[in-house]
């Protein structure tokens, strides 16, 4: 049975593009154009995943308010924010509200489909973890769980790792000891344009998250002016 995805986006063009792209990938999609219509529609629908824009019409926090309502009603539904609000503080607020991921615009539809698939897979694992057959790649103390897009350091889950960060870790550890250039890392994000600075910010976040488990973590070396290198 096809997974049911709800999209709430006030821009008709984007809404249609998302809907078409996801339906072509076999999902059942219901799209709403406003917070109010979505609230009404979700009274009779229990979706498997919700994609929310944040700014809708004149309400700059409509997506946050809708997220709060949905999670009160269905606490375990994966919620993905897909928004033009890209500031760090918005990202933090969205994730703290219980959203599973936060994706800034513009987004590649292929990346969006992959992200949707990953989130649904994670949701399935949470619901029935014993049913999932994991493909694990081990790089020293690092385990990359390909199916669930999870990573572990010395057997412990790295908390809060986003899909982009997982993909960057994947790219970094593909050939340990070799330099991975900014361009390669940018491609790993599946974004249309990613600056070196954005990549460095992602790397900083990855380091922080691993250092929560191991303060001595020092496996990611900077190759200034070129990229990064996994040295473990």
């Amino acid at each position: 049975m096809a997974k049911h995805i709800v999209i709430v986006e006030d821009d008709a063009d984007q809404r249609e593009n998302y809907q078409v792209a996801l339906e072509q990938r076999g999902y059942q999609v219901t799209a709403f154009a406003s917070k109010e219509s979505a609230q009404e529609g979700l009274m009779s629908i229990k979706p498997d995943l919700v994609i929310l824009d944040i700014i809708m019409q004149d309400n700059i926090d409509a997506g946050f308010q809708l997220c709060s309502d949905i999670l009160k009603r269905y606490p375990h539904i994966p919620v993905l924010f897909l928004t033009e609000r890209v500031e760090e503080i918005d990202r933090i607020i969205g994730l703290r509200m219980g959203a599973w991921d936060y994706q800034p615009k513009p987004v590649s539809l292929g990346f969006l489909a992959e992200k949707v698939a990953t989130l649904l897979r994670l949701s399935d694992i949470r619901d029935a973890p014993q049913d999932l057959e994991q493909n694990v790649r081990q790089v020293g103390a690092l385990n990359l769980l390909e199916e669930s897009r999870l990573a572990q350091w010395h057997g412990q889950d790295i908390e809060g790792l986003t899909l982009t960060e997982f993909r960057m870790l994947e790219a970094l550890t593909r050939r340990p000891g070799h330099i991975v250039t900014y361009d390669v890392l940018a491609q790993a994000t599946h974004q249309h344009y990613v600056s070196n600075n954005t990549i460095s910010t992602h790397i900083r976040n990855i380091k922080r998250k691993i250092k929560k488990l191991d303060k001595a973590f020092d496996a990611i070396k900077s190759e200034y002016g070129l990229g990064y290198r996994w040295t473990e």
């Binding site: 063009d13 078409v20 760090e88 513009p106 600075n197 900077s222 002016g225």
Partner: protein, 714 residues
């Protein structure tokens, strides 16, 4: 239609602050001047009033003495006795043989004797309080002095005084000199030769001084008034003794003052007690009333003119000192009138008197000293037939008025000075406060802009609540700051707003192209689709860069400084930047003598800084030249320099080279540039506690960017 040009505001006549201050000071200074003019007019008015009152008083006195021939015309006993007038003296005579005190009366001297140059003398008598003074000039070819020890007193030149007492007994006094100077006064017996006592009289009671003259000698003497009897009779004779060589001295001549055979006494004519009684009730301060008989002899007088000159104020304390200085200034300011000497004053007085003696009403005014003017009026006193009996002269001093005027002047000066000082202090305090307020406003206006030229606040706090002009200025300036801040806010949020607004249509377009591609596009049209997608990616990149630069300051706050080896970082970076082509110069050359340059920093921000500096250097360097990157330490800092040969930075750009949206690149380079690179460099340098500067070099022309960062002290 032609409109008349509006009046230019610049043509309006406005008082500048200095002009206003001058006007204020003029008004301030004019106050005491006006007060002085008022006082001067008041003085003239008062003196005129005083003069009129004086004239009326003179008329009144004339009325009192009108027809009183008994007081003025003749004196009792005049039928049988020679009258010698005793002149009222204004002060006690110093008995010293000099005639300074007698100058005013010399014309009234009584002459006795032959007057042929031998055996004559002149006599002047005067009175002051309870003493009689006399001045005798004796003509004598040979002056014979008394031989001390000679018991006979008439063997030398001498004066004989006969003074009948109240009981009718005659006292005989002989005044003789043993040498010039103090004379001896002897009580003698009737023979005028034998002394009654063994020693002369006390010089305390009767004094006499002899001074030789060219043609004789002079005797000045004084004796108490009580030596005279009630009729005021006295006799005076001058004995001339000659002594020829080898001969005994002998009395040659005796010249008496009396002319009547029946009495050898003269009568001393003094002021009339009756007339004095009449005048006593008219006694007033600073005025003198004198009754003259028709021979211009003083018959009665009352009062006296003030003899005090200028009261000198006691200087006590600082205020007294200030007052003394003010008095000096006042003396300089108030012109001192021309005043008369005592001789000139007497002459002036005599002139008025003579006019009155001619039976005319006379008046005169003169200054006897700088602070005192004398008003004199003289009115003739006549009998029933109109014949002149005497003259009443009233002299009055304006000293009191002038003194009051001066006191008023001093008070006005002191009050004006104090007021001016107070006003000046108030003005000074006011000016200081205004200057302080303006300075405070200026300081806040300066501090409201941070080193990067951005406003720290959206309003001013100083003086905006004040109701005066400075408050209005502060409010206006605060409004300007608020508007500038709004503009700054708009400019700073503009990239973010732009990204928000662009991202939605960009996302719609990109996802549409993606769907289009997925639906299948003919091969010939695939390339156009790819071009459209690349264009959209460029737009996305531009928006991203703008937003990143706008968010840089906030993003930097998220970064944590850590110890870095800058030498390793820069060397690694430069090595990774090398794009050397065989046979050509290296793209970037790194030079550093130190292995370890420790700084506290964020590695990827330093990397971002290097990206921007090298991008800039590559864009402006001359072809076939290398970029030189240097790192060195000096004292507490390390210096990171990026130098490229190429055109210098235009002078017009040097002031805002590191500001946002400033670019020196020419158009048509094929890449979008928004002048954010050096702005990012400066923000990162500032975040690391450093600074960045740009320098033009010559020989060869080159541009050097120098980033100074503080060293990490371990």
């Amino acid at each position: 239609m032609v409109q008349a040009p509006a009046a230019s505001p610049s043509k309006k006549r406005r008082w500048r602050p200095s002009g206003q201050m001058m006007l204020f000071l003029l008004v301030l200074i004019s106050m005491p001047l006006l007060s002085y003019r008022f006082l001067a007019e008041t003085r003239v008015f008062m003196i005129e009033g005083q003069s009129q009152a004086q004239s009326q008083l003179a008329q009144g006195v004339v009325t009192l003495f009108q027809g009183r021939e008994d007081l003025l015309k003749e004196l009792p006993y005049l039928d049988s006795q020679q009258v010698v007038f005793s002149h009222p003296l204004s002060q006690a005579v110093k008995v010293d043989g000099y005639t300074g005190e007698w100058l005013d009366f010399q014309l009234f001297a009584n002459h006795f004797g032959s007057g042929d140059g031998e055996d004559g003398y002149s006599l002047l008598l005067g009175e002051y309080q309870d003493r009689i003074y006399g001045l005798v000039r004796i003509q004598d070819n040979v002056t014979v002095l008394r031989q001390p020890g000679n018991r006979k007193l008439d063997m030398s030149d001498h004066l004989r005084l006969s003074l009948p007492d109240r009981n009718g007994n005659e006292r005989k006094l002989l005044i003789v000199a043993t040498k010039p100077g103090r004379m001896e006064v002897w009580y003698v017996k009737d023979d005028w030769s034998t002394p009654m006592y063994n020693h002369p009289s006390s010089t305390f009671i009767i004094q006499a001084v002899m001074r030789p003259l060219v043609s004789g000698y002079l005797v000045e003497f004084t004796l108490p008034r009580y030596f005279l009897n009630s009729r005021q009779e006295f006799g005076l004779a001058v004995a001339d003794v000659d002594s020829e060589e080898g001969e005994m001295r002998h009395l040659k001549t005796l010249v008496n003052s009396e002319t009547n055979i029946e009495s050898h006494y003269n009568l001393l004519a003094m002021r009339s007690p009756e007339a004095n009684k009449i005048l006593a009730s008219l006694d007033r301060a600073n005025s003198q009333i004198i009754i003259y008989d028709k021979h211009a002899r003083v018959r009665a007088s009352v009062g006296k003119l003030s003899t005090e000159v200028q009261e000198s104020l006691e200087v006590t304390g600082p205020l007294g000192q200030v007052q003394a200085w003010l008095n000096i200034a006042l003396d300089w300011f108030v012109a001192i009138p021309a005043y008369l000497s005592s001789g000139q004053e007497a002459s002036q007085e005599r002139e008025v008197l003579n006019q009155a003696l001619d039976n005319e009403f006379a008046s005169g005014r003169w200054h006897r000293n700088p602070g005192e003017e004398v008003l004199a009026v003289a009115a003739p006193i006549t009998d029933q037939e109109g014949a002149l009996l005497g003259v009443v002269m009233i002299k009055q001093s304006t000293a009191q008025i002038l003194k009051l005027q001066r006191q008023a002047m001093e008070n006005i000066t002191l009050v004006s000075f104090t007021t001016m000082v107070v006003i000046l202090l108030v003005l000074l305090a006011f000016s200081w406060r205004q200057a302080y307020r303006v300075q405070r406003l200026g300081r806040e206006a300066q501090q409201i802009v941070d080193p990067s030229g951005r406003l720290r606040s959206d309003h001013l706090q100083s003086e905006v609540g004040s109701g005066d002009e400075i408050g209005a200025l502060a409010r206006s300036f605060s409004d300007v700051v608020e508007r500038l801040h709004e503009h700054q806010q708009f400019m700073s949020t503009m990239p973010r707003t732009l990204r928000h607004e662009i991202n939605n249509p960009l996302n719609a377009t990109m996802t549409s192209l993606e769907n289009l591609q997925r639906h299948g596009v003919e091969v010939e049209q695939q390339r156009y689709l790819a071009i459209a997608q690349r264009g959209l990616v460029k737009i996305s990149a531009i928006v991203e860069k703008l937003a990143d630069a706008a968010n840089l300051e906030e993003a930097l706050k998220e970064d944590e400084l850590e110890a870095l080896n800058l030498a390793y970082l820069v060397e690694t970076y430069v090595n990774h930047q090398q794009r050397q082509v065989p046979g050509q110069l290296p793209d970037v050359v790194f030079s550093c003598d130190d292995q370890q340059v420790a700084v506290a920093g964020v590695d990827y921000r330093i990397e971002q800084l290097l990206d921007k500096l090298l991008d800039n250097a590559r864009d402006f360097r001359d072809a076939d030249t290398s970029i030189v990157v240097r790192l060195y330490q000096q004292q507490m800092y390390c210096y990171l320099e990026v130098e490229n040969q190429g055109p210098p930075i235009p002078a017009a750009m040097q002031g805002n080279l590191f500001a946002s949206m400033v670019s020196g690149r020419k158009g048509g380079s094929g890449q979008a540039h928004f002048g954010l690179g050096l702005y990012v460099v400066r923000m990162i340098a500032l975040y690391h506690g450093g600074e960045v500067t740009a320098h033009n070099l010559i020989n060869p022309d080159a541009v050097l960017f120098r980033v100074r960062l503080p060293l990490l002290l371990v």
